[in-house]
Symmetry: C2
Subunit: 563 residues, 2 copies
């Protein structure tokens, strides 16, 4: 008789583990036990199905050649038994068996295992407030949620919706519903959307979302769902405001679904996830756990975290599937928390630590913001804004965030590889990347960002963040702001912070127009602050001692502009 492998959970990590186990052992008896009716759902694709990017629901469930991954497929193609609509209610570690209940028939059964792989996923958080059981409140976590929201899109009856929570799922859902023609308000308790970004980049994303006629409310929580009979009619916020809506999508994060593991006495971590070692093995050597139900190590801080990402789930499933068959051979050591999402015409991605996270972790850091195109203007290049975080002194790359209409995916991928390599900024100064005009600038945005950071580390660039500029303006400090662009650019767009316009080409002749006190604070900038940097160097060479360049330029200014 073959080795008996039970996999609990049939979404991403579970099927991957089962498939890998099968490839390594044709004779193993492999069973997937899945609570939902569907298997191997592309759950990250739900928002795109809801938004109408594609219409065929089966595309979320099928192989690249169009075969739906149902129990028949698993049996015929992979000789894996898949029990759907079946819940595992308990694990008996002594007997090495799981208790199952068929959700349709109600019958229970006991299935024995040699190795058990838990892939029980996560549970969406719900606010514990009045009205939570009204009709019209949902999450976007399951296939049935996706069906529910897609029906709303197709029926076109609902005109107003709120999205509670401005994280990754929240903004993706916001876009999906807006594409469906629904008036959207996003409500976020924190001072910003997308906490995998620092505040100023998140604010630029918020501005972009608002430009699509989406209402965004931050620093304000929901205190009640309001009802009209059984149906949702609005929400009430902490500040007393009421927002009418017929639909509320709750996206305030997820937590590990680790209850059966806990009840079986497996070790659970501080974040509520199943504890596993680098082989994905739980505190019981015969039980592995993978995907959203576990905690993983942040490889930069060394801290255990909950990282519910589809790519990590697949990697973990592959390793656990191997280990369940072959003994502990395959490792999964942790994550650098790389992520990305699309938000209307922009993308936002991150890898490693934000400034905020790096400071919280106790790093002594330097940051820089770079704004530039992804490709040449003549190839319709689009803007990218990157914030790079490095360790002071060594220049070791700790994290990078990138947003914009340009090719964010490649940028974040490059930074992720650099972090995995343990690179400092100095190691990527001469990075040999694929260049041709349809693909990048001659010096890719990634390389230019490293150059700017190097200039800062060497004391050549004395930068100031847009946020600090704003704070100093708000404090009433007297600063000379120097906009280094051309007159036509100034007429088309400008900050309106009392800046003086001196185009770079005229600067050397107009030094007399600057404050002649050489310690007077001056901040230079332009559209992206490349000319701003050159201007600062000219001023310093001419004796000014207190000149700083506003990093990222006007395009990275997250506050309101005069024009």
């Amino acid at each position: 008789m073959g080795k008996r492998i039970i996999v609990v959970g049939g979404s991403a990590a579970g099927p991957k583990a089962a498939a890998k186990a099968r490839r390594l052992d044709e004779n193993a008896e492999i069973t997937i036990i899945q609570k939902d009716a569907e298997l191997s759902m592309a759950s990250c694709g739900y928002p795109y199905y809801v938004g109408g990017v594609f219409d065929d629901r089966n595309m979320l469930l099928c192989t690249p050649t169009g075969v739906v991954r149902n129990p028949t497929f698993y049996m015929n193609a992979k000789k894996i038994e898949a029990l759907v609509c079946t819940e595992v209610t308990a694990i008996d570690r002594q007997k090495k068996s799981v208790q199952c209940r068929n959700l349709e028939s109600g019958t229970t059964s006991e299935v024995p295992y040699d190795k058990l792989i838990l892939a029980t996923g996560s549970i969406p958080n719900m606010p514990r407030i009045p009205g939570a059981s009204l009709e019209g409140i949902t999450t976007l976590q399951s296939m049935s949620d996706a069906d529910y929201l897609r029906k709303i899109k197709d029926e076109k009856k609902i005109t107003k919706a709120v999205v509670i929570g401005g994280g990754l799922i929240g903004v993706e859902t916001c876009e999906a519903l807006q594409l469906a023609g629904i008036d959207i308000t996003v409500v976020e308790l924190l001072p910003q959307l997308l906490t995998f970004l620092d505040w100023e980049l998140a604010k630029l994303i918020e501005n972009h979302i608002k430009s699509k006629n989406v209402n965004v409310i931050t620093e304000n929580g929901i205190v009640a769902f309001l009802g009209d009979g059984k149906k949702l009619s609005g929400i009430k916020l902490a500040n007393g405001a009421e927002i009418p809506c017929e639909l509320a999508v709750v996206a305030i994060g997820v937590r590990p679904n680790s209850l059966i593991a806990k009840e079986a006495g497996l070790k659970i971590g501080e974040r509520g996830g199943v504890c596993v070692n680098e082989y994905l093995q739980t505190s019981d050597t015969d039980i592995y756990a993978v995907g959203d139900c576990i905690e993983v190590k942040n490889l930069i801080t060394g801290k255990m975290i909950h990282a519910p990402f589809g790519d990590l789930a697949n990697l973990q499933g592959r390793a656990a599937g191997e280990n369940a068959i072959s003994g502990n051979k395959a490792q999964f050591s942790g994550t650098i928390q790389t992520g990305i999402c699309k938000i209307f015409d922009y993308a936002a991605g991150t890898t490693g630590l934000t400034e905020k996270a790096a400071l919280q972790a106790g790093f002594d850091i330097l940051t820089v913001v770079n704004t530039s195109l992804d490709k040449p203007g003549f190839m319709q290049g689009k803007l990218l804004i990157t914030k790079l975080v490095v360790e002071k002194g060594s220049g070791k790359i700790l994290g990078a965030q990138c947003i914009g209409a340009g090719d964010v995916g490649r940028q974040v991928a490059q930074w992720a590889m650099a972090i995995m390599a343990g690179f400092s900024v100095h190691d990527v100064i001469n990075a040999d990347l694929p260049y041709a005009p349809p693909f990048s600038l001659a010096l890719d945005h990634f390389i230019a960002t490293a150059h700017i950071m190097q200039n800062k580390m060497l004391g050549r660039l004395k930068g100031i963040s847009a946020r600090e500029v704003k704070e100093r303006i708000d404090k009433g400090e007297k600063i000379t702001f120097l906009d280094i662009r051309d007159h036509s650019e100034y007429e088309a767009m400008r900050l309106g912070i009392g800046e003086k316009l001196i185009p770079l080409g005229a600067l050397r002749k107009k030094l007399g127009e600057l404050p002649q006190e050489k310690d007077a604070p001056i901040v230079t900038f332009c559209k992206i602050s490349l000319r701003g940097y050159e201007a600062a160097l000219v001023l310093e060479a001419n004796g000014w001692r207190n000149v700083r360049v506003m990093e990222g330029g006007i395009m990275a200014w997250p506050f309101g502009r005069e024009k």
Copy 2:
């Protein structure tokens, strides 16, 4: 008086060096001496201007905000004197001066330097054959070449053209002229286009080019340009064939323009380029050289090569500009020869060594081909084909090539970073890359490629290349070919190499239809050979000992198909 910096050459590396020198020293006297009328041309953009991707010639010459980088711009914005239409005819290393000749007035002058930076670029190779002075023969190397070809596009008088040389510039030019509505034939002396790819990937690109109604001739050289009076009327090939054409674009590579360096007694390398150390310093400590006129080290083989790429030119210019001002501080240690180009709907990229180059360099290697989508099917994912080359045993990544309609740029960038990091395949098995459906598969193509290579290294995947399959067919070997796809897929497309169709879902029940001699050679495959791999594992588990998977599947088959 400030330090006198002379930069010879005003295309890419030269202006970058001059600008960097200026940023480091406001008081230096910096002069660019440029033979052409234009400065800082985006020469990699010429094919896109010729092809009509954009129409404003100034876009090749201007800053991101639309200011043409002419001598006035350089003087006003950067305080750099730019002498255009001026040729440097000699270097006097004793006197530390250069001899100049104004190409318009004919006047000569002598300009002294403290540090000299040579950025004299490259010279296109021309075939030494009869008829080379006929009208209608050009290269695509200069702004005036671009103007000439763009005029041809706009006038629409020419109907037939040949491109001599199927390298990077050749295929880009081919696309540009085809977009202009001209009948194109590409003639290449070697057995393949794009020698930065191995033969089978280049052949797939050739198939794609041919699908655009471009005629491609390989393994055939041009022996004469044929004339009708003064004008080109055709070309004659080594095999005697004549191809009528009114235009011939020669793109058979470039060589370093190092004559003045050689005449000045500077050390010249075996490839004809100026020799420089890691600080870009020539054999004369007061003279630096950068860009297409130098030789650089291939960081994998350690060999000196000519690598005329725009991105490297910029990186070298930046380092030399710094070193000319500050003494030798900034290094440029070499290249891993990363490159990419667009070819109609495909891109083709490379980094590190091809299989051919790795074998020539004496490496003991393993290769693998992976075919998969760049994104999920429901996000309109497109195909990528990657060939990975690693060192046998260690799995150290030596090179990767990627082609296809998908996001090749990101793939090649990731491999380039991995090579720079000195990574083995094992180091990228769990790469934490940015995943969301609009950007990649849950397991990015890059990671899947590493997984396949790991499977091969562990002996789980026994692969065979399409090329070897074809060779064995041609030798008349008796092999059972097993196509593992579904019937409908087989009806729509098939190789026609005598294959037997057994869909994966039916395989375990139809083992009796296979040769019962367990040593009989069997080759399995499917569209991309993922199912082909699973089938091979099933056969091996059932006792067959001579089963191999055709890597990359049908989509990577470079030969003709039955259907």
